[in-house]
Amino acid sequence: MQDLLYFFQQLINGLTIGSTYALIAIGYTMVYGIIGMINFAHGEIYMIGAYTALIAITGLAALGIAWLPVILIVALVCAMIVSSSMGWAVERVAYRPVRGRHRLIPLISAIGMSIFLQNYVHLAQGSRNIGFPALIEGGFRFGSADSFQTSISYMQITIFITTLVCMTLLSLFISRSRIGRACRAVSQDLGMANLLGIDTNRIISATFIIGAALAAVAGLLLGMYYGSIDPLFGFIAGLKAFTAAVLGGIGSIPGAMLGGLILGVAESMTSGYLSGEYKDVVSFGLLILILLFKPTGLLGKPEVEKI
């Protein structure tokens, strides 16, 4: 019984961290699906989302507003607006001018953008960790009090539900709305979509904006969950999320969700049953194995050579 509770606890830990990987992975996978480039600055957009949310929360506290729903909604909206504008601006400044060139050029431009944003926040906000208030506290417990108890915090539940809601809304948006249909058309054939009268530049901008908005949601959630942020925390999260996107099949939205959850659970199970030292060895080993046997990732479609 105790072993089972332990297993469930590790599963919950893994699913929580996996959901946040998935939220960030969306930004990588959508951009790749549409213009076939890897936006390495996406982790920084997520970090900027977390900083904006913190600034908004601090500002509200200074104004004396203490009602939780208001704080959360205002922080979320501010973070989404700032991150989306950043996402849009990054595409406009660093990617659009080099679009259609050799694949390496946008990639290098993205890495440059990532380093630029990281250092910009270093300078603007200082390089130290900044505390993030835990706004949602408490949780449920299972199991008897004198032995091992499985606990789920309200924060973990919030993360999990928010991710599910965002993913569902995004899937509906892509499959039902006009812009979503245009997105799919652009991802199938950019040139043809252009010929048929779709404003592809607008669609590509929209993709960056949506990805950045979801990264901002993840930024706020993870800031509250971990309680501290620093200018580098987007880099590592971005790397993991990118791995999740590749694992699930880059370009596929359900793939990002699946990849995120698998990566999160693999990490927590490795730390839980083997040793934390092997966490990255196992999760990246898993990635290599999957790519060896299924190069397009778990849910990725085999790429059809465009003529």
Partner: protein, 370 residues
């Protein structure tokens, strides 16, 4: 147009060269190398504040054998690669004495360069035993070793008769080194070490580790590493209601841990150098720091101050600014400093340096426990 620019450039470089020459004649350059940016910049602040004060006071008192000290401050960000870059920069600047570096993993590669180039280095903060194990002639420190700090922590935990202890470290030279020393001490004392595990520095999620600690039902957790990770571990342990006492080395003992962990930092045990700023004979110096609006209570402020003072007194006693003469004078004399009487052994370690166990509080203050 082109010729004007050329003339200008020549004129400027000539005057720069002249200025440089002018300075070199009357000044002794002291390189101060530590993190100004990066994850552990708050320790760098302590180091720079201590070194600046010492240089200021020595110059105000007439300098060293009539020559003024001049600080050359460089930022290694606690990154070994950057440490090598800035060490080379100090070499190019003609610096012959260095106070630094802070992180053991930076001090180690930088000290190779200093030794090769004949530069004397005094680190005010690096505690890894390896640094002085290589038979270098010009490497000194004004702080104790992990091999001293580890046993202090291990013996303290053992004296509390714990049932099970877990040891976690960040897999870096400093963290793993000290964690190993603690483990060995505990084993010698017959205490069961239920878990010895590394984490990845820079990670944010330690929920799996915390769950494991809870399952192992440990009553003490020793963490070898720095405050950003321990802060998160403390906070996540509090959320998971892990009922264990945490202990860490001086790398976790700063107010940043309160920013991250909040109330969860209450009751954390930390081994630190004794509070030199509380000693009666240092009160005048403490007041000088306070007058400048600086806080002398950080663990590396007065060790840095001492590092500069030792270099200055070494030069005075050797009556030479040759680093090898100064090194010989440091080894053969005894110095009266704010951190007590300093005498060096052959390796460049202080003959005695003690660590004290403190209990940390959620407001960032600390009280000694023994």
């Amino acid at each position: 147009m082109e010729t004007t620019v050329k003339k200008l450039v020549t004129a400027v470089s000539a005057s720069v060269a002249l200025m440089g020459a002018g300075h070199a004649a009357a000044e002794i350059k002291i390189g101060v190398a530590g993190p100004i940016t990066g994850q552990v910049a708050q320790y760098g602040d302590m180091q720079f504040s201590g070194a600046r004060m010492a240089i200021e006071q020595i110059n105000a008192a007439g300098g060293v054998n009539g020559e003024m000290l001049e600080a050359v401050e460089v930022d290694d960000a606690c990154d070994p690669k950057q440490a090598v870059t800035v060490a080379n920069r100090l070499v190019n600047e003609g610096v012959r004495f260095v106070v630094g570096h802070l992180c053991s993993s930076s001090t180690q590669p930088a000290s190779d360069i200093y030794e090769d180039e004949g530069i004397l280095m005094v680190t005010p903060a690096s505690t890894s035993p390896d640094i002085t194990e290589r038979g270098y002639e010009l490497v000194f420190r004004t702080i104790g070793l992990d091999s001293v700090q580890g046993p202090v922590a291990g013996n303290y935990i053992a004296s509390l008769n714990p049932e099970r202890v877990a040891i976690v470290h960040d897999k870096q030279q400093y963290g793993e080194g000290i964690a190993t020393a603690v483990r060995d001490t505990l084993k010698d004392a017959g205490v069961e070490v239920a878990l010895f595990e590394g984490i990845t520095a820079g990670d944010m999620d330690f929920s799996s580790l915390v769950t494991k600690l809870k399952q192992a039902d440990v009553d003490y957790v020793y963490y070898g590493g720095y405050d950003p990770e321990l802060g998160l571990i403390l906070r996540q342990s509090r959320q998971a209601e892990l009922d264990a006492v945490f202990m860490g080395p001086e790398g976790v003992g700063n107010k940043n841990i309160n920013t991250i962990a909040g109330d969860a930092a209450e009751g954390l045990l930390v081994t630190l150098p004794p509070a030199f700023d509380k000693k009666a004979e240092n009160q005048e110096l403490v007041k000088a720091f306070q007058d400048k609006g600086e806080d002398p209570s950080g663990p590396f402020v007065l060790t840095s101050y001492t590092a500069v003072q030792l270099i200055a007194e070494g030069i005075e006693q050797a009556e030479s600014t040759d680093p090898f003469d100064v090194a010989a004078s440091l080894r053969s004399n005894s110095f009266n400093t704010p951190i007590g009487t300093v005498e060096y052994d052959e390796k460049g370690d202080m003959k005695s340096f003690e660590f004290v166990v403190y209990e940390w509080h959620s407001d960032g203050s600390k009280t000694p426990v023994n």
